[in-house]
Amino acid sequence: MKDQADGYVTADGRQIGPVVMEMKNITLRFGGVEAIKDISLDIREGEIRAIIGPNGAGKSSMLNVISGFYVPQDGEVWYKGSRRAAMKPFQVAQQGIARTFQNIALFEGMSVLDNVMTGRLTHMETGLFWQSLWKGKAEREETANREVAEKIIDFLEIQAIRKTPVSRLSYGLKKRVELARALAAEPSILLLDEPMAGMNVEEKEDMSRFILDVNDEFGTTIVLIEHDMGVVMDLSDRVVVMDYGKKIGDGTPHEVRNNQDVIDAYLGVAHDD
């Protein structure tokens, strides 16, 4: 079913498209340490793709390679049918890849609304001159983008804290604002680095619902790293398992759960004495 090149329909009726991003034989080194060893993986349009693995497996490094923050020493990144040249992170963002961070990276000195509006920056292009006049072009652009930002704010149910400085918010709300900022860019691929870390069960449920809704309503492709196995197995269409920088499993949650290598990595292998 999922071998069809131009996509398939999931059991719950979502349309999964063709491969939108493909990583081929990625190797990433920091000095002598190989964080990622010869990993290939593909991401299909519209799917929720999870990357899991024990601590230090290289999951975040992988996400950083996708978002252009790290440039791998070996391997190729193919995005929307063409090979991606080495580029700066802001250029990757302009191509429609947005992300959230493991440790919240919001702009603390700005209001929630301003944070979400920074997510729209890749869609705003009025020059300095018109912006300095405000009336006319700049105001129109601001209003148009404000409408998109407000839709996201409604969607994530953070209307009430719109004008609150981010530094005053709780941890769970900050995570949500960060998701809003990433969504505001209307990305084609959304990278979530541990969106549920440090949350209680209710907050996790909320966040899971938002992730599914985002995928469903906007058709956004989502790549997420998460440690909560229950969440991962419930949310994702396909899962990549990493351990010590290597890929040890790749497939549907069901396939991965029954993969002996994965079980060994998570539970440890009994050593013969």
């Binding site: 301003d114 920056l121 300095l128 404000r146």
Partner: protein, 358 residues
């Protein structure tokens, strides 16, 4: 009771994003503008203009400029004096080379020249941050002052090494040189203040301002959401230097009339403007005005109270001023890093609920 926003609803995003969304604020702003434009010019004389209004207006422009760089974009600069000198010397060269052109054009062009110089010295900001960037801009400060001292072309080979403003007019009214009217110089500077505040406000509330603040708050995250850091920082340096250049040009041409670069545009000037925005409020246009007003008023008030009323010796009052400013800087840095502007904001929040805070 005094300050209410009830019944004040925005019905469009454009209305919501205006500078003074609350009606009371808006009317107060119109009132202040009316006083500044239509009342003060009829009341002032040379003493008030030279001791209070001109320095306040001109420092306000410089503070707005520096606030864009330090308060909004987070790039610490100690080169303000040097950049003001660039504006002053650019203005001098333009005034003497093109005597028939309006002062308006000269001052704006001086700003543009300074913007270009600012971008040049802003280039290292991509690689170095914080304290080290401050030292790099300090180099700009000393280099520029040295340059204007040592290259005679800049001061037209005058024997004294000073530059002095020839008589120039704006719409036929003398605004530089010996025969100026108080109201004319005041209005000329006020025009630039309004222009600077308007432009700065529009830039900081739009997408450029958000780019600057994103760089200030977390530069790595800013880059990952699509901000080109080099461009954002260099535009901040350019816009900031543009305003500082204008203030330097006005400081020389309108306020002082004659300038010796090391004395007027030395490192003390850089610190003075930096103190203004620290006391006034980093990242706030209103704070730039508050800080400029405070540091211009302080010596005048101290002189009136200390020398005229209490009869203290002048030097003690002058030293007392240094002590007070130094102490205030420390107090503000520890207790209220966002300065007078934040105090004002808190006061407004309290007033909204007063007298029933619960």
């Amino acid at each position: 009771m005094l300050y209410r926003e009830s019944g004040d609803f925005s019905s469009s995003y454009a209305e919501d994003s205006q500078t003074f969304p609350i009606k009371f604020d808006r009317y107060r702003y119109y009132f202040v503008m009316f006083i500044a434009i239509a009342v003060i010019p009829f009341l002032i004389n040379d003493y008030w203009v030279n001791s209070l209004f001109l320095p306040f207006l001109i420092y306000a422009i410089a503070a707005i400029g520096l606030n864009i760089l330090v308060g909004y974009c987070g790039q610490v600069s100690l080169g303000t004096g040097g950049f003001m000198a660039v504006g002053a010397y650019a203005c001098y060269k333009l005034m003497t080379s093109f005597p028939d052109v309006s002062m308006l054009v000269h001052v704006l062009l001086s700003g543009l020249v300074t913007a270009a110089v600012g971008v040049l010295f802003g280039l290292p900001s991509l690689r170095i941050k914080g304290f080290y960037l401050a030292v790099a801009t300090l180099a700009a400060q000393f280099f520029l002052v040295w340059l204007f001292n040592r290259v005679p072309w800049f001061y037209n080979y005058s024997a004294s090494g000073q530059i002095s403003a020839p008589e120039r007019t704006f719409f036929g009214i003398n605004i530089t040189g010996a025969n100026t009217q108080a109201w004319a110089t005041y209005l000329f500077c006020l025009m630039f203040v309004i222009f600077s505040a308007y432009v700065a406000r529009n830039l900081t509330r739009g997408s450029v301002g958000r780019k600057w603040m994103a760089i200030r708050d977390m530069d790595i995250a800013a880059e990952i959401i699509g901000v080109n850091p080099l461009r954002a920082k260099l535009t901040a340096f350019a816009i900031s230097s543009f305003f500082i250049g204008i203030s330097g040009a006005l400081f020389f041409a309108i306020y002082l009339g004659a300038v010796e670069v090391g004395e007027v545009f030395g490192i003390q000037k850089s610190f003075l403007v930096l103190f203004m925005i620290i006391i006034g409020g980093l990242g706030s246009i209103f704070g730039s005005f508050a800080g400029a007003a405070f540091l211009v008023l302080l010596p005048v008030v101290l002189k009136i109270v200390g020398v005229d009323w209490l009869g203290w010796p002048t030097d003690i009052v002058a030293h007392l001023q240094l002590v007070i400013v130094g102490g205030l800087i420390i107090v503000f840095l520890i207790a209220e890093p966002h300065g007078l502007a934040q105090l004002w904001r808190v006061a407004k929040e309290k007033l909204r609920l007063w007298p029933f805070p619960h």
